[in-house]
Amino acid sequence: MKAWDVLARIPDPEIPAISITELGIVRSIAERGAAVEVAITPTYSGCPAMRMIEEEIVGELKSAGFAEVTVRTVLAPAWTSDWIAPGARDRLKAYGIAPPGRVHLFPKAVSCPRCDSARTERVSEFGSTACKAHYRCLECLEPFDYFKPL
């Protein structure tokens, strides 16, 4: 699908290591000739990046030849971090962000994305963006972000 391939190249504005399709916020695409409608869902209600993501989707699809692009927001089902693509989890880790645990599984220790130690502690439930918590590794002593399971 052409539109999907275009969207798969748009990085998330706050975590550019992964794309918006890998983040799981693109919920549907309907192509009708030169027209395309994309449905996206916010990670968090107050995510300030949503407007920018919308503008990028419109811009990129227009440059890819779609004359008419509409983006609508859907809320149900609510986004979950379980929708993050498997390959993107590895890239989050390589980028220095511990990937989220599965929402309904027994919570595992959060491993340090740098040294893999499970000896870590939470500094704060809240971090630099709505979707991250702030952790510290007790082995290598580096602070790091944890993508919160939601």
Partner: protein, 240 residues
Amino acid sequence: MATKPEFVLRLGDNALILGQRLAEWLGHGPALEEDIALANVSLDLIGQARLWLACAGRLEGQGRDEDRLAMLRAQHEFRNCTMLELPNGDYALTVVRRMLFDAYQCVLLARLAQAPEDEVAAIAAKSRKEADYHWRHSADWTVRLGDGTEESHRRAQAALDQLWDYTHELFASDEVDPDAAGLREPWLALVEPVLAQATLAIPAPSRFLSTGKRGVHSEHLGHLLAEMQILPRSHPGAQW
């Protein structure tokens, strides 16, 4: 039963007014982590407020969008409960107020996730995930402060003493929200264990009932609105 537009307005105004109060902490938090935490919670609440107010505008069908509802209504048209408009006070008051409200959000949003209107149910299901997260943070801090030092305990108890009577309003059923009273028990089931762990005593019962959700507010809301609304009121239609 169908959800009334005025009830949705209450949901939006609760989120908006507490979101605005928490935003006042920006740059003034007692620690960097807490500063960031309050900013994050504020952002979630303002995001929820946008969704609820947009929904309320559609349900009432008079062409008012979320910006107009947030920025161009006067004090008596706001439907938030009074507790949320009170000034922030110290960190104990900010934390205990959030704990009382976050617990209410958890039980209320769980109920609304079953609402007959798809949009109401969707916003509630989405917001509830965030409310759970907020609740963990404010309950944790209530315990830390209540069961902390002598000074932090004194302040947390003073905050609870000041706020407790305002929670009656949350559970006062009326024609807009006939099911409000039914939430008190599940709410207490969340709040009581936290207060016990925090070694905080629930104040003696009183008949005080605040009336913010009916549009009759304390003297504090006007000041908050003056600050929040000044830009769109002095420069109508301003954009950047």
